[in-house]
Assembly symmetry: C2
Homo-oligomer: 114 residues x 2
DNA sequence: AAAAAATTTAACCAAACGGTTGAAAATCGA
DNA sequence: TCGATTTTCAACCGTTTGGTTAAATTTTTT
């Protein structure tokens, strides 16, 4: 159902999201587009490190960078979250169903409604 | 709003989900609880490797392992997906809003209607 | 044309990752 | 009790990660 090349893409998206600095960059970027230097400011790591983080985010499709003069303007791509969200949504619902079925089979109603 | 120790937890959940073998283990586990050996079967990697993957999933709270004799029975914990899903849901919505606002602003300035 | 500014790239490092094999620790069946 | 079974743990290995600094690149400013 989900199994396509999406799998490969999910690797990159989930990996990109697994780092707190990168999630902070995304938060920062949610306030509006910004240049690499502008993004880099508040972080206690080097400029180059932030640039590499942006590379990871870009390869995951979460961020786009386009040149404007000597600067690179970074912008969020909310659509890239859709795959990850779909995976989570599907599985969370599916797991819950299966576990409910298991509970029902065991016959011990835990009394937890939907 | 989200920023608590949850951050630290999100690191582990997203990282756990970033590996295709681990996602496959979760898929497998969605069919019902299973022992480590049972899970390990279909995978072309060693038993110990699967055990380590299960450790990662357990530390992320996605899976619980409980002893039953000399076996360990593994089971999904759907609740653990909630945090990740909440993060994604909030951000996806928030990003979309901000970008809509940005588009509207740009549209106003350039006189281009929506 | 030269200097300054914004980014990326390259080379490097320590730590973590995903994998292996083999030994250790429980528990079960004989 | 002894041997087999199930699982983890420990040590190791090559690759990736997240970070650094320094050099290279591109564009703007003077």
């Amino acid at each position: 159902m989900f199994n396509h090349m999406v799998e490969h893409h999910l690797d990159r998206v989930f990996h990109a999201l697994s780092d707190p600095t990168r999630r902070a960059i995304l938060d920062r970027l949610a306030e509006g587009e910004a240049t690499v230097g502008h993004i880099s400011g508040p972080f206690p790591i080097s400029f180059a490190a932030v640039s590499k983080h942006l590379g990871v985010l870009e390869r995951a499709g979460l961020v786009t960078r386009k040149a404007r003069g000597r600067e690179r303007v970074c912008r969020l791509n909310p659509a890239a979250l859709a795959d990850a969200r779909a995976w989570l949504g599907f599985h969370q619902r599916f797991w819950a169903e299966r576990l409910d079925a298991l509970d029902a089979m065991v016959g011990q109603k835990s009394g937890k409604p939907d």
